[in-house]
């Protein structure tokens, strides 16, 4: 075993549901509000809060093997790759993206991260690797709509033209004066993985940059 200490940071037990949980955008919504989606809205924003975010570090071959065992999915074969799969469990989908030659971001349905981490650790055995649970530290924002790309062009220096940023690509890049992980899981959808402490800045920036397109926030 890796001699690392794993820790489930989600409340469990019968009273768990009574515990208030606040996403990184809770304060922003409170302070800046959330403009409604209107008829002429050309871009919409939605936070997909409370997902399970795990940073995986290690060699591609061993991690790939473990990932196949545990989740039945492979690591992206190329740098900047994003692979999605349906999650074999109660809810939805999971994804894994390349972050660096020895670093990947695994996003699983909220609440599954501890178990996934545990199973991965088991599968990885004595290999040199690291898994860090960062579910509380980042959130996922979704941009959709015909003007989504234009809003991104105002915000990131990275080329988001479809020729250069096809579906299945994911990059870490500069977003205004912060940084984001930018992903394109499907033709019409962009995802931004944002650090918690920068979420409010990112949110305000998006509202400001999206104003001319009548940006709306889905809650």
């Amino acid at each position: 075993m890796s001699n690392a200490q794993q820790f489930d940071t989600r409340p469990a037990g019968e009273h768990a549901s009574e515990i208030a949980v606040e996403s990184p955008l809770a304060y922003s919504m409170h302070r800046s509000g959330a403009p409604k989606v209107k008829a002429d809205t050309r871009v919409t924003l939605r936070e997909r809060a409370f997902l399970g975010h795990l940073t995986l570090r290690g060699g591609a071959i061993v991690l790939d093997e473990a990932l196949r065992d545990v989740l039945g999915m492979s690591l992206p074969g190329e740098p900047l790759g994003l692979v999605q799969a349906s999650f074999d469990g109660p809810a939805g989908e999971c994804s894994i993206q390349w972050l660096s030659p020895d670093e990947w971001l695994l996003i699983v349905p909220g609440g599954e991260e501890f178990d996934v981490e545990r199973r991965l650790r088991e599968a990885l055995g004595d290999a040199h690797f690291a898994i860090s649970n960062v579910s509380g530290g980042q959130t996922l924002l979704e941009l959709k709509g015909e003007a989504a790309r234009e809003v991104l062009m105002k915000s990131v220096a990275y080329d988001v033209h479809p020729r250069h940023f096809p579906v299945g690509k994911a990059v870490t890049t500069v977003f205004a004066k912060a940084s984001v992980i930018l992903r394109r899981p499907s033709e019409e959808r962009w995802e931004l993985v944002v650090r918690r402490s920068f979420a409010d800045y990112t949110y305000r920036w998006l509202l400001d940059a999206g104003e001319e397109f009548g940006i709306g926030v889905e809650r």
Partner: protein
């Protein structure tokens, strides 16, 4: 503003994603206690400052967070080569000068010589 090929991400990225970290191939003396004050001062503070071909350490700070090396001309700012940590440059000042001087120069010979040139340390 530079457009830098990240050898790990495999594509060009804007300079804003990177931080320059000074001269490349500065290695810490293996036994610091055995160095003289002068040698230690040299290691800490003295760097090449060429007007021309320079090997630099950069990090893809907002990106893959990997360090790598860039060979860059400090006047034209042209990036001549990008290579990963642990690798050696194939283009050096001498090589570049030769290339500029005589296009017919035997590139392979220069490249193999490059590793032994002064000023390029591991």
């Amino acid at each position: 503003m530079f457009y830098i090929f990240c050898p790990y991400c495999g594509e060009h990225r804007e300079e804003e994603e990177f931080h320059p970290k000074g001269q490349a191939h500065i290695s810490r003396p293996a036994d610091p206690e055995a160095t003289s004050d002068e040698e230690w001062g040299d290691y800490l503070f003295f760097r090449d400052n060429p007007r021309g071909v320079h090997h630099e350490l950069w990090v893809h700070a907002v990106g893959c967070r990997k360090f790598f090396n860039i060979t860059r001309h400090t006047v034209s700012y042209e990036i001549l080569e990008v290579y990963k940590m642990g690798e050696q440059p194939s283009i050096t000042a001498e090589h570049y000068a030769a290339q500029q001087g005589a296009a017919s120069a035997d590139k392979e010979r220069n490249a193999s010589q490059a590793k032994h040139q002064e000023g390029v340390r591991a």
